[in-house]
Amino acid sequence: MAMRGLTVFIADIRNCRVRELEEKRINKEMANIRTKFKDGSLSGYDKKKYVCKLLYMYILGWDIDFGHMEAVNLISSPKYSEKQIGYLGITLLMHENSDLVRLVVNSIRKDLDDNNEIHNCLALHAIANIGGREMAESLASDVHRLLVSPNSKSFVKKKAALTMLRLFRKHPDVIPAPDWAERITNIIDDYDLGVCLSVTSLVTALAQQYPEAFMLAIPKAIMRLHKVIVERDFSADYVYYKIPIPWLQVKLLRLLQYFPPTEDPNMSEMLHNVLQTIINNSQETPRNVQHNNAQNAILFEAINLAIHLDCESDIVRQATNILARFILSKETNVRYLGLETMAHLAAVTDELDEIKKHEETIILSLRDKDISVRRRGLDLLYSMCDVSNAKTIVSELIRYLHIADYALREEMVLKIAIMTEKYATEHSWYVDVILQLISSAGDHVGEEVWYRVVQIVTNHENLQEYSAKMVLHYMRSPHCHENMLKVGGYILGEYGHLIANLPGASPIEQFNTLHARFGLCSLATRALLLSTYIKFINLFPEIKGAILAVFNQYRHVLDAELQQRACEYMAIATMPTDDLLQTVCEEMPQFPERESALLSRLNEKTGQTEDKRTWNIGGKDSNEKTPANLLAAKERNENGSVDDLANSVSNTSISAAGGENGAAAPANGSPAPPTPAAPTAKTGLTWKDQLAPGYENWYNRLRDGADGILYEDSILQIGIKSEYHGHLGRLAIYFGNKTHTQLNSFAVSVESPEGLVVANSHTLATSIGPSTQIQQLYSLECQQIVTEVPLIRISYQAGSTQSIYLKLPVLMSRFIEPIQLSSADFFARWKQIGGAPREVQEIIKVPGRIELERARTILVNHRLGICENVDPKPGNFVATGVFNTSLSGKVGCLLRLEPNHESNMYRLTVRTTSDVVSKHLKEILHTALLSKPAPSTR
């Protein structure tokens, strides 16, 4: 009932004209409530009132970090009104992983067992709203009891059904659904339509997971539909604007789409009757909006079911006629849904002729004033595209691209590229369209698109000359986009010689066309063009002079990548013989056939959500891979590697990186842009708790910076190689499959500590063949002071999913650069830094005898420079280095290590300009000095 204090408070807040006043009022109230709560002697009414005030503030968007306990207390109040506010409080303020959940579980169980149904309901609402694992585990069986017990009232049953649905969605393993299947499914027959509605929702979710166990739901759903729609048997309460319980009708029609068509002829007949009745009912358009919406909601769901059952049936033909009417409707909602449903039909049927009749209308929908409708139009055009109409649709889409919303363009470009590739009958058409796309859509062309062009041109010999000619033409237009330059650079570098005899395409003209834009483009593109130039030297020795001038100039640029390429290409080009040049610039081999990166990109965009999709946007073949058919798709993935072009490009650069100190070999295109390591899923257990047993054995050996084996078991061997330079580093990780079978679903992800950026250069293959090795290259950037090391998770399929968690030996000391200081300099700085906290000292007693050589090696391995003749006492070590970060600057590190041979102890003193670094560096060296001398790992 009304609480005066609350009403006054809300009115006060509403009177606050500016946010500052509101904030002031809120803070005052919070302080007031805090003191009241501390007092502890509040009446139930007051507690309720204050919790309500907190909730109001919460709804306004203010952070509420107290009051949870008071809400929990209210739950166990004997008064309904207080209990209710208590429950509202915890459902709004608490989330499923809160520690307080434990406290409320018992109160909730008490209310579930209560004889008062109103209390049962409150408890069910709370479980459904919070639904954590703890609740699921301890309360699922109570919820089930309330659902199936014949003594439960209808309004309790409904809530129990949906509460169980929520628990199942969150924690499917807690619900023994197959065991409960029969009793739950039977409730679809309940005379109460509300109960039937709730249980149908529950069954829909369970049946997607356990279709076999819920087969019984098929006849039940059909009979219920028949009863409501054909026999018109329902209670008057449930009529919504002349339509009997539309929500139930829609639910049941959807449920049937998750099962294969029934084989029972009686059932089939009944269902046919149902669908036909729905279609017949829809011939007239009701005036009332709600009536019309409800009727159409059912109609669209019925059409979807009819398409699912048999997309060539008579019902579907009738439906197509209705849809044709709908896409011309004046009402935006109807146009939208008409296009959407037609896209469903186009996506699964072979018979596109009926739809193609409306091509013009559909193309016009791209110019609708509502973006929602335009999107549906685009989806439909994409779904209905085939060889016969591809040219029209693609050219319409390209025309539309110029005026399309920015939000739509990238998706459009992707779809156009896919359609063009899929339905091209003439090679020249493909090249024309793609190049036009790249030149006109500019920034909206994703990297995948031009990778794919390169891939296709390389694999089709008869395309090469034509594309070289066209690309040269496009690059001469005044508004040439950088992507065009990338394609152009690659294609001319490989196939420029095919057109060298044409007028306007002589070697020097090709070179000049490219080089005219060289200065204007990004570093990555310039790097790619340098590779093109070295290829030109091989193809056209006559222009070597002009190119060498460019290399010479770029030997001195600031960017390391460009500088390195320029230097190395210069060296290759000026060798006495051309042997190396020719080997390096050999024509690129064909790319292995693989799934188009474009498609995987698009599929990535349409992710899975809670309910399974019943169909996908796209032509028939994209629907053969719907969840039901995932297996076939998976097999295909395993045979051909699904990694995209970028992968193969940078694979070559890794092998070169090992030997050549990180230079990109001239044969490849631009280095693939590094993608940040996949974000890690937040699981209950942190990675650290799950490190592979015995990982320390390998890890400790690598702590000192060596390369070698990081992990090994009977299946997998993992090795690393690394190099560091300032705040940057590169880490190559090798994964070797030791078995004689293929390892599937192979995935690697890295969790890096804050301040350290770990990026992988390409997407790793998802499988490793028998007895083969794959590698992944990571680039490291130390941005701030890091005291943690990154963790890596490797998972693969071998019977079940296996996961290995390991630490990567990327210690802070890796980012130190050794320096040498003279005695005077050293002591000046030593004094400057001063004592604690920036000085850290420790006495270390080593096991066994002190070995000076070993101590020296440890310091050097941790990248410190040993300064000779600095310490007055010979035998003491003085070492210095600079720890580099890209964002937090540099930290000078000085240390002294004084051995005491008699007692086998060292005294280690570290002084750096940062107390964090001092402490951590000391710990690193401490561990290193204590560890057993490692056997040589190289």
Binding site: I10, G61, I118, A128, L162, S201, W247, A294, S372, R375
Partner: protein, 153 residues
Amino acid sequence: MPINYVLLVSRQGKTRLAKWFTTLSPKEKSKIVKDVTQLVLARRTKMCNFLEYKDTKVIYRRYASLYFIAGVGPQDNELITLEIIHRYVEVLDRYFGNVSELDLIFNFERAYYMLDELLIAGEMQESSKIAVLKAINDHDAVEMEEANEEKNK
């Protein structure tokens, strides 16, 4: 066909009610509220009641000064969701007698109770207006009784 969230947003962009049926962090929630509010407020009349936000669909309808918004999955039935919203409005209307934004501000807890009677776990639990109102009135009766007992003491 779960609804992921229901939002009531005023024309000025103030949230009047937010109900979540999925677990999200406060940060994610406020991002969705901000983005969706912006998208919906920018729509003109005559446009359809559906729009896309990331991988989800947003179904909304405006009633006087309030937008009622529901977020659903990409293949959920749009119209039926729209009518869930309408049913909610009807129930509110009947209970408060010609409901206004102010009713919802001062009696926000009632607005939540009614939504709970209509939707659990994002699914419709009861579509009958009579049944929903009866449940709410029963609760009110219990409260009234308690209040009277209090007075008589």
